[in-house]
Symmetry: C2
Subunit: 250 residues, 2 copies
């Protein structure tokens, strides 16, 4: 009997969470499509430079420029715009197929990842429909079969997720960080991972959301003996402390 | 009153559907993490080269090598491995922080996007938890707050989605392709997009799935007058054709 491994199912994309914080990304064009790209980039803390004559800026892009959310170069694209070695990615959204193609070729010479809007063969990557809830991002791609369907799926997902999912994830991230402070050793990696998994599975979303910094400290005392008490166990037993409410007897 | 534009919410990633079909991606390492990366890459039709001594291959990676799903170089990584100008991306998953860091630096010199597993600062991009249903891919990222929570969210999404979503999207993609054949003009773009949107919104998933090639041809006749009949309208009026069932009177 052959061992069973996951079957390969080709035809997909490699979906990646690109880290562009403080990295320079060039957006050529200032219309509606550019506005969407710029919002995506700013949500990921990129340092965005928009190249477009002011006359070509749509209201949203003009708003970003006025609020200094992006750097604006009031001009048409020139090849020398790609000379800055800090540029990490290039997106174009202009109504000029010839200029677009030229930018694509220049980017490829310089090994710069690029996306030429509306020209799939001249794209290293595509955008999808993204749902955001704090630290949680969910991206829906139909691999070119229909942006409308991607939006329908995204909205369906958003309406089915508990509204506190993002908050729960935030708390888990905080607990994880504290755990690494308590048990920083590399060899602890697998134990840390297993313990965190147990917390995520055994606690309800509501309890994860409710977890205070103090609860985290108490919960972390159970890491060494590798136990996962419930939130009630973490907080109890309780008695009145005479001040503003109930305090935990440690 | 200031115009209302979407608020920027920083702290996210730029989630992108990377196109790596037939592109050369280097995976350094052959353990469990490498196995997961390789599966992601093969699902996106990448041309994968694995660099690892045979002794370091886990069963899944060895299986991919035996089945010629990847190219295998039975050796340790050397800087000259990055000389091939066709390499488009580098992923490492080895238990050697020093070698990993060296690879990261070399990649940055060559402007090669790279991911050094378990070393977030040495990653141009992160992986997430991906749900796949044919052409549909849904990627969940918690932006480093907890891979377990990403898995929980992914499974929750998968169990809430109708099982025929992927099929419906496939059909929509097919219809979209046929529409571009019928109305290929660039200026038709907005009309094409609006008409496709109406079909996606007005038709049920079941009807989208049921749509045959013949149904598509009939439906497309309504594009010019900009109408969206239902599947019943597309197929009717019906009468018994005396053979195996009911046939459409065209």
């Amino acid at each position: 009997m052959a061992e069973k491994f996951p079957e390969v199912e080709g035809g997909g994309s490699l979906i990646l969470a690109w880290q562009v914080k403080n990295k320079k990304v060039l957006v050529v064009g200032g219309g509606e499509v550019a506005a969407g790209r710029i919002l995506n980039l700013l949500n990921a803390d990129a340092s965005v430079t928009v190249i477009s004559p002011t006359s070509g800026l749509n209201p949203e892009v003009a708003h970003r420029v006025q609020n200094n959310q992006v750097t604006h170069l009031d001009k048409k694209f020139e090849p020398s715009d790609l000379d800055d070695p800090d540029i990490t990615m290039v997106l174009t959204a202009i109504d000029d197929p010839e200029a677009s193609s030229q930018i694509w070729k220049l980017c490829k010479e310089k090994r710069l990842p690029a996306n030429i809007a509306d020209v799939p063969p001249e794209c290293d990557f595509y955008f999808g429909s993204v749902h955001r809830d704090g630290p949680l991002q969910i991206m829906v791609s139909t691999n070119g079969n229909g942006p409308k369907m991607a939006n329908i799926v995204r909205r369906r997902i958003a309406s089915n997720l508990p509204p506190n999912m993002g908050d729960a994830i935030k708390k888990v991230g905080r607990l994880r960080k504290k755990l690494r402070e308590v048990a920083p050793q590399v060899e602890e990696g697998p134990k840390r991972m297993q313990w965190m998994s147990k917390v995520c599975v055994q606690w309800s979303l509501e309890d994860l959301c409710d977890m205070s910094e103090e609860d985290m400290e108490t919960l972390l005392e159970s890491y060494a003996p590798d136990r996962v008490p419930s939130l009630v166990d973490v907080r109890g037993p309780w008695e009145f402390d005479g001040s503003f409410g109930w305090a935990c007897v440690v």
